[in-house]
């Protein structure tokens, strides 16, 4: 069986198992509209009496948050870390040690399937709310934003997944990894631009954040699409993002090989 066929099957199986949870994704997407309402109320109140904050008007900021939501459903890691952790703790990972299947490739195929389902379902409530949102959507029309934004989005997905994968692999060392994951989520929420656009931070803080992987998870592709970064910043960012993809893939490989040395497979 060719390598592509193997992972295509994993993708299709992932697609089927994720469609089973369509209601979960749907409900999650519905509640994300409440979060969007919170964002609209808070930033709407903050913009009262002024037309611009940090060089952007209210609609530009709201567009940022709407697109951020779309990104979360298409490239965000939901519970991949827990799934990997469970497979290690329950010994389900043993089967991959005996088969010619790369565990990262297998999990990534399932991640792609899961995000295809959650991404499309996540769009549904947004489409329903479109009549209310469309007046606030202001996307720049420059073609280069799409050309640079799409690879940035793909690499952001890789970073998202690989960080989740690394946290899942911590189960080789720790029995309970939930606190690590939620701690990392707090840092990611702050430094990934999910609470506020990072460019509203003081200049030095914004510059430091550009050297961290969190910047490239959600903020970077969203900022390219919504006009918060110029072309030079986008090119520089893509290079740094590629570095983080490579570094995290290296870390994932290291954790996998080191973790397997500690792993004990028991049972028939």
């Amino acid at each position: 069986m060719s390598a592509f066929a193997k992972y295509r099957h994993a993708f299709l199986v992932g697609l089927q198992s994720n469609i089973i949870y369509r209601w979960n994704f749907g409900i999650r997407a519905l509640f994300s509209l409440f979060h969007l309402a919170f964002v609209f109320i808070l930033w709407g109140a903050a913009y009262k009496g002024q037309t611009q904050i940090g060089g952007f008007d209210l609609n530009q900021t709201l567009t940022y948050f709407i697109l951020l939501l779309v990104m979360q459903f298409f490239i965000g890691a939901f519970n991949e870390d827990y799934q990997i952790s469970e497979e290690i703790r329950n010994g389900l990972i043993n089967q991959f040690l005996l088969k010619p299947v790369n565990y990262y490739g297998y999990r990534f195929s399932i991640f792609l399937a899961a995000r295809s389902v959650s991404g499309l379902l996540g769009l549904l409530p947004l489409l329903v709310a479109l009549p209310l949102l469309k007046d606030h959507l202001v996307l720049p029309s420059e073609g280069w934003r799409l050309a640079l934004g799409l690879p940035a989005m793909v690499m952001a997905g890789l970073i998202q997944f690989t960080i989740a994968y690394c946290f899942g692999l911590l189960s080789f060392w720790f029995l309970e990894i939930q606190s690590f994951i939620i701690l990392s989520l707090a840092v990611e929420t702050m430094l990934g631009g999910q609470m506020f656009p990072l460019d509203l931070m003081p200049g030095w803080f914004f510059r430091v954040s550009q050297f961290l992987p969190y910047y490239y998870q959600m903020y970077f592709p969203t900022a390219i699409f919504t006009g918060r970064l110029n072309q030079a910043q986008a090119f520089e960012g893509l290079a740094l993002q590629a570095f983080w993809v490579a570094a995290l893939l290296g870390l994932a490989h290291l954790l996998w090989t080191r973790g397997l040395r500690r792993h004990t497979a028991v049972g028939g």
Binding site: R28, L42, A46, M190
Partner: protein, 264 residues
């Protein structure tokens, strides 16, 4: 069973939780850090917004900090005293382990709600009090003892409201067994407790101020510190507490009737 007996049970559970926490000290430290970081995220949001504006819906930076600190304090109490218990209740209903609570000689709701304490949540309540104290000092507030007592009472009402909402949401598991993630809706709703009431207009005002208790749980206690005793607001919160606590208990009791265990 007499109230004193329930107090003894609760104290025994609290002692067990403390001993358990001391056994897993690293875990306690990590979870304390988790909660601390999440509080930091919310404070940072306030700091960033007020870098660019002087007021949000008429609330200045330190008034907003007072509001956020109040919202955090209510949340920390919920996380410390009830979250794990109610979260596990949903899992236990699905797995059938809920039988264990029904077999105990006491009120099932009390047994379910008070089995565990999360000391990290309670420890971070101190941080929330610190935020409130800092904001109050910057605002030059000097509440009297009666004012502080009223504030504490309002916080208690806020905790009751949160408990009622959470209980009602989790009790839905009696009907929709495989409802993973339904608890997340509670956090989505309570996100609104960090907003000033004046920011909500139109439909948002009807939904989040009048129909759902999201705004009132933090705004009324914060107003008690800022503006003193306002009978209408205080009565509003007390009535909302009675209503939502009652609703939570009602949904739980109705759900209990449907429970048919899951074991063989």
């Amino acid at each position: 069973m007499k109230p004193l007996a329930y107090l003894r049970i609760w104290l025994a559970c609290a002692r067990y939780s403390v001993v358990r926490t001391m056994m897993f000290r690293f875990d306690f430290l990590m979870w304390s850090l988790v909660e601390f970081f999440w509080m930091g995220v919310n404070l940072l949001l306030v700091t960033v917004i007020y870098r660019h504006t002087d007021e949000v819906a008429g609330w200045g930076k330190y008034q907003m900090l007072l509001l956020i600190g109040t919202s955090m304090l209510v949340q920390r109490f919920i996380m410390g005293f009830f979250w794990s218990n109610l979260f596990e209740m949903a899992r236990n209903i699905r797995s059938g382990h809920f039988d264990f609570f029904l077999a105990q000689p006491g009120n099932p709701l009390f047994m379910v709600s008070t089995r565990k304490l999360d000391l990290d949540g309670i420890a971070n309540a101190v941080v929330a009090v610190g935020v409130i104290g800092y904001a109050a000092r910057e605002l030059g507030l000097a509440p009297s003892l009666a004012g502080l007592a009223l504030y504490a009472l309002m916080i208690f009402c806020g905790v009751l409201i949160n408990y009622g909402v959470l209980l009602a949401i989790v009790s839905l598991t009696f009907w929709f067994g495989a409802s993973q993630g339904i608890e997340g809706s509670y956090f989505t709703l309570m996100e609104f407790s960090r907003l000033p009431r004046e920011a909500c207009r139109g439909v948002a005002n009807v939904l989040f101020v009048w129909l759902l208790p999201a705004i009132v749980v933090s705004n009324v206690p914060a107003r008690v510190l800022l503006h003193g005793f306002e009978p209408v607001h205080v009565l509003w919160l007390a009535a909302a507490a009675a209503l939502w606590f009652g609703l939570g208990v009602f949904v739980f009791n109705r759900g209990l009737r449907r429970y048919a265990s899951a074991s063989s």
